[in-house]
Amino acid sequence: MTSRRSFINLRRENIKHRIGMILITFFFFFLAVLSFLMIIQNICSRDIKAEKIMEQITDLARPEYGMAFVALGAALLLAVSSFKYLHSRTEVDFYHSLPIKRTEIITILLTNDLMLFVVPLVLVTAFKCIVTAAAGYLSQAFLVHSLFAVVCYTAIFAVTYLTMSLAMLMTGNTFIGLLGFCVFSGYSPVMLCMLYPSLASAFFETYCEFGDKSVIFSYFSPLSLTRLLLASGGTWRWEEHVLHLAAIGVWVVILLLINYLLFSRRASEMAGKAMAFPRWNPVIRFLLVIPGAIYVGLGLYAVSFTSFKPWIIAGVIIGGFFAHGVIECIYRFDVRGLWSNKRQMLASLAAAFLIVGFFWLDLSGFDRYLPREEELSSIVVDTSYLTDNSFWGKERNGVTGKAMIQSRKVLDRIIGENDQNKDILENGGESSSGYDSYTFTYKLKNGKEAKRVYALSPELQDDLMEQVFDTMEYKKDTYSLYTADWSLVTDVEISYPVCTEVLDMTKEQRSELFRLYLEEHAALDYKTASSTVPFGQLTVMHKLKPGSSSYYYAEAGSTDAYHLYPSFKKTIKYLRDELGVDVKTSMKDIPITQVNVSRYEGSSDKWESFDIYDEEFIGSIKEKLCYGDNLWLYGIDRTVDTSVDISVTVKTGSGEEVCSVYTDHETVEKLKQQGTFE
C-alpha cells in the first residue's frame, strides 16, 4: 500500500496535471459569484421596502436558485477529464505501469474531484454570506438556505460525477462515454417510464394514465433526481426533499461500489475500443434495442395518422434492425457492423414482438377487467366535470355499498358496449352527440387500485348517474368544495343573466355562502339536475393545494364552477339579501331583440346560421335560456344541447349587447323550426 504521505503527494501530482480542467471549473464558480453580485446590486438599488429586499436576497441562497448547473457541469467535466486516460493506450500504459494499486488510483481521482468541487463551493458560499452581511441583509434563513444549498449541490455533483465516471469506465472512447451518460440519464426517466403508457395507450381501449407512478423512474437518473431535489412549490423546504436526498445517497453508495469494482476489473487493453466490458455488450444491446424497436413501431403508428395497427409491426422491424445495427456499428466502430450478430437482432425483435403481442392481444385482459364484487371496496366515478385532475378537495373515496354494487352492474354493460360506443364517440359525428368518456377508479380491498376509461352512451350515462348522483360519496368526490380547504379560495365570481361579477365578501360571508350552496346542492337529485338548465354559476378561483401534481411547477391556481339552479332558494336569498347581488334566475325579464342560431356543417366545412326576430317566439322561449358567457358546461352537458351555438342580442342602457346562451334539447328543436340554416 502507498503510505499516507505519498498518497497525498500523488493527489497533489494529479491536481498539478489537470490545471486546465480546474480553471474551467473555477470559472463556472466565478460566473456564479459574478451573477450573485449583480443580482444583489440590482435588488439593493430598487426602491422597495427593506423587508422585501431582505426576502429577495434570502431567496438567492435557496438551492433551486443557485448553482445546480455549475454542479452538473463541473461533475461532467471533472469526471471526463479524470477518466479519459482510460481511453488512450499510451496514457493507460503510463498510469497503469506506475507502482500504485488500482483502487488507490480511483480513490485519488474521486477524492480530488470531490475536493475540487466542494472547496470552491464552500468558499463561494462563504463569500456570498460575507457580501450579504456587508450589505446588511444576512439572516438566519440565508445561512440555513446556504447550508442546504451546499448539501444539495454536493449531492447533485456526486451522483452526476459517479454516473459519468461509470459511463467512462464502461466504455473505451470518450464520445461513447458521453453517449453512455446520456443512456444512463435517460433510460429510466424517458425510455422505461414511457414504455408501458405508450403501449397501453396504443393497444388498450380503456387505458388511462393515473397516479404519479412515473416518479419512481426519476429516481434512477442523476438528472431527473436533480430535478426532483430542486423542485419547489415557491419555497424549497428540506422536509419535502429528505427522500430525494436519501435516494441520491443510496445511489452514490451503489455507484461508488460499482465504480471501484469496474475500475479494478477493467482491462487496460480496452482503451480505444467502444466498450470496455464486451461480455455486457449483448445485454446492453438487448436493453436498448427492445424498447427502441417498440418506440419506432409506436412512432410509425402515430405518424401514420391511422388506426391501422400493422404499422406497428413494420415499425418494430425497422426500429429493431436500425437500433441493433447502429449499436453494433458503435460497438465495432465500423458501419459494416450493421449486419452483424443477426441472431441477437432476431432475438431482440422476437422479444419486442412478444411484448407488443402481449399488449395487442390484451393477454392480461386489461380491457375486460371488472373486479369481482367481493374484491371491491369502492368505485370512484370521474365524469367530464373533473378535467385534468382539477379536484382540490380531500381524498376521493368513491361510492360504496348499494350504489357501488348497482354501479358495478352498469359497468358490466359499459364494458360490453365499450368498443361500439368508443367507435361512435371517436368517429360518429352527429351520431356521437351525448356520448362521453367516463373514468372509473376501482379501489380494491387489498389496497390496490385500477383505473379505466370507458365510452358511455347517453342511456348508460343516465343508468350510471341514477345509481351514484344522489349519494353524498359521489358529490364529495366530484365537487371539490365539499371537502376542500376554503382558505385556498382567492376569489368567487357569480354569473347570472346577463352579467358576471366578482363577489365582494368577507371570509365569513364566503363560508356561509358555500355552506348554503352545498346544503342545497346535496339535496339536488339526478332527476332535477338532468332536466333543469342552471341559470348561472359560482366560479371559484383557488390556489393549488400542496402536494398536487402541478404544485411544484407554479404557484398558479385553478378554477372550478358550481351551477346555480332555481331550486337553490336559500343561496339565492343569501346572495340577494346579504351580499347585495341582484341575482336574476331566468332570462324572462331580459329584453332580447334577436336570437342567432348557428352550427358548424362538417360536410361543407362551413358555419351556417339564421336569425330570429319574432318577439312573441322569443318571449315564449326566454325562460328556457341560460346565460352562457363564462358558463362551465362540464356537468350539465347532458342537460343542455350543444349541437348549435346560440347567441342573443340584449338591449342595455347603453345600447345592445350580444351574449351566448344555452338551452335544453326541446327548446333547440323549437329554435331550429324557426329558421333555415344558410
Partner: protein
Amino acid sequence: MIEIKKVSKSFEKIEAVKDIDLKIRSQYIFGMLGTNGAGKSTLLRMMAGILKPGQGEILIDGQNVWDNPEVKKRCFYISDEQYFFPNATAKDMATFYGRYYLKFDYPRFEELLGRFGLDGTRKIQTYSKGMKKQLSILLGLCANASYLFCDETFDGLDPVMRQGIKSILAKEIDERELTPVIASHNLRELEDICDHIGLLHKGGVLLSKELSDLKCNMHKVQCVFPEDAKISLYKLFGILQLKQKGRLISMTVRESEEDIVKKMEDLSPVYYEILPLSLEEIFISETEVVGYDIKTLIY
C-alpha cells in the same frame, strides 16, 4: 528474476500470447525478438503489470506483478510511445516519477540530462521523437528500478546515442542489479546490447538462449563434395536451411563450430567454409522453420 509461467493472453478472438514459459535471469540484458504480431509488446505489458494475463502468472522475484505496487516499484516500463503530460518539462516528469519511485535519483537525472544535451526546463512537446526516447530511458534509469522494460525504445536513436545508452546500461548492471528487457525488431541493436535472446513467434516462444550460445551453435556452412559422393546431410547435421547451386551446397545448421569441423573432416569435402551468423540471419532461419518465410510473404 522474472518467471513467466504458462501465460496466455487473448484480445477478444485473437490469441496474442499463447502458453508462454520463460525465465529471465537478473542482471542480464534480455532481448525480446519477434515477428510482427508475435506478442512482444503484450508480453512486456503483462510483465509491467499493465495487462492482466488471461491465464498463467508472471512472477517478479517470486511475487505476482499484477496490481502489486511492491513489485511494480522494482519495474519501470518504457512504452514504444511514451506518454508525457501536456506542457510538462523533463524536470516535471522527473518530479512526477519521483512521487512513485521513491529512490528516484534526481542528481543523476540532472547529470544525464546534461550529458545527453537535453534541456530539463524545455517543454517535452517541443522535443524531437529521438529526444523523447532518450528522456524516457533516462527517466527509467534514474527511477532506480531493478527491471527496465523497453518496448521498441531504441528504435529511432542514432548509433552514437545507442552506444551511449548501451554503456550506461552496462554500468548500471555492474553497479546495481538492473535487468533490462528490450523488445525490438531491430536485431542489430539487440545484437550489440543483449546477453540473452528470446524469440517469439505467433504468441509462442521459438527459442530462448544466451546470445553467445545462439551464435556459437548456429552457423552457415558452404561446401562442395566430390561428384560421386552420396551423403545424407540431413542425417548428419541439424539443418535449418539447405540450398544447392550446382555442386555448391549452402546450409544453415544448428551445430557448434567444433562439431561442424569434425563432421566435415570425416566427410572429406572438396571445399568447405564455416561462416558465423548474424542475429538477423538467425532470426530469419529460425522463423523460416516455422513457416515465416520471406518467400511466403512475397510469393
